[in-house]
Symmetry: C2
Subunit: 309 residues, 2 copies
């Protein structure tokens, strides 16, 4: 098929690229797509919008990386429910000038990652305008195992655990991270996950979300926090610890389990990605840090706050 | 709850406003929502993005109207599948300055229409930036009756029928139209709908989509076309007929049925919205207009073409 010159051609091109998928009996090209959810028929749904100048800049990011990331952040949300991703729809506002080339790159980045996680591209809405690039993806998934893992299930005495390491993601990792979809499913099979979230706002802030929904408090161990190489080598006024606790976009899993389950999965990890036991859930509210010298410090206030003027 | 000042508060406010819905066991406030699709578990999914300066201007449109329209265009897509809308997720880029007030208006417009059509607000992603307002809604629905009505089912000899009237929508109707959800379901029960689409790109263009997917051609009757009052009174160089055929955003239903079914639903309309028999599906390709003096004119080229530079 020739390189598309118009929006309709572009959609036809995408339609041709997007392979058929067994879960999508009606895909791109009708008023709506049909996605099959076999019994019990629970559909997980999440949406994330990325905006040029806020979430990325092109350059240094490439259209391919932006397309990839726009799906990856949604995969991370489905992972946080221990779900299996199934199909996505995209809506995009492309800058009129150069929008076609940009659209092709976006789609290729998105499509490669979709293919890797067996996600169908079920449909979308492609627009052009004189503004910056905006891309929004809605991802549908389905629960696995005993059902979705919510934020609200943390219990007093639970271990707080995490995959990977934290901080400094904006130095590069935020553009090529691998969403923890497989890890989440493996953990969900290996242990009774009480609560789970993916770390997008920052470790402290996202732990705060879990604690708030669970009506619990927590103590994190400074000594146990896995700090990323990027946070260790960040050359600014903030310490590696502050980066690890406050930076956003780690897209690691943060979850709570019973101490028995926690010890077991540390001894026999169900996934290759490193797991760490970073703290405990306690009765009460708020989150504290047990520093290396044994003091307790409040963590309130750390983490990214979005704001209106 | 006090007027929200920050994004997190705004989301909490929406979460409080959004009533619980029997089809959404997990709603706003987790990494993903859960929407129930009872057997056979087919989920219809559609997405539409509206952009300030392209799809609307505030003023003259109000935030309430924009919020309403952003859901209404999606309801129209689910209607075009003869589906029942179930739940939606929204993603929005709010201008930083004045974004909070705008966000409240958007949400209220959206919520009122969602309530009218029993649609759950299952989740969303709220962002702020220095750009114009962008709102994207993904709507989930489910098929009714014998299943979704596609664009691809038109047969030679079918009557082409439509609800309502056409043209001049941008004079105002595009901001307060009622999506034909109930009409579509009533028609789907009363007749075997072979193909259906909602008219968003324009009558001629959208009929073109049906014909292309169905590998058919069509003849429209000029005399039978229901032309809206707004198109009749449009004060420009284009005729009312040109408006009716070429204008976008009518959000009426265009469908094909057997002549027997067509006569029957004209004689005993299953809905109060006027129905019209406007033409026939024929073998071949392309669309022609039978003018008042009996001539056949090609309709190719009419309808809105989106374009890249």
């Amino acid at each position: 098929m020739p390189i598309p010159e118009h929006e309709f051609d572009y959609i036809a091109w995408i339609r041709q690229q997007a392979a058929r998928h067994s879960r999508v009996p009606v895909g791109i090209g009708d008023d709506a797509a049909v996605v099959a959810f076999p019994p019990p028929g629970n559909c997980l749904v999440t949406v994330d919008m990325l905006m040029e100048g806020v979430d990325f800049l092109i350059p240094p990011a490439t259209p391919l990386e932006v397309g990839r990331k726009s799906l990856a952040v949604n995969l991370s949300d489905i992972a946080a429910m221990a779900g299996r991703p199934v199909a996505c729809v995209t809506s995009v506002a492309l800058p009129r000038r150069g929008g076609l080339e940009l659209g092709r790159g976006l789609f290729e980045g998105l499509y490669r990652l979709a293919d890797e996680f067996d996600v169908a591209l079920a449909g979308g809405d492609t627009n052009t305008w004189d503004g910056p690039l905006v891309i929004s993806i809605t991802l549908l998934g389905e629960p696995t195992g005993t059902g979705p893992v919510l934020r609200s299930g943390a219990r007093a005495g639970d271990w707080i655990m995490a995959t990977g390491s934290f901080g400094g993601s904006l130095a590069g990792r935020h553009l090529d991270f691998t969403p923890r979809v497989r890890e989440a499913q493996a953990l969900h099979q290996a242990a009774a996950l009480h609560a789970m979230i993916d770390v997008s706002d920052g470790l402290a802030a996202d732990l705060g979300h879990v604690l708030e929904e669970s009506h619990m408090g927590a103590i994190l161990d400074e000594q146990a926090l896995p700090i990323s190489a990027a946070a260790m080598s960040a050359d600014d006024e903030r310490s590696p610890l502050e980066h690890a606790l406050g930076d956003g976009e780690d897209f690691e899993l943060l979850f709570t389990v019973s101490p028995e389950d926690g010890s077991r999965i540390l001894a026999h990890p169900p996934c290759a990605t490193p797991l760490a036991h970073i703290g405990e859930v306690v009765r009460g509210s708020g989150c504290h840090l047990r520093t290396r010298d044994g003091k307790l410090e409040s963590l309130s206030g750390l983490g990214w706050k979005h704001g209106f003027e």
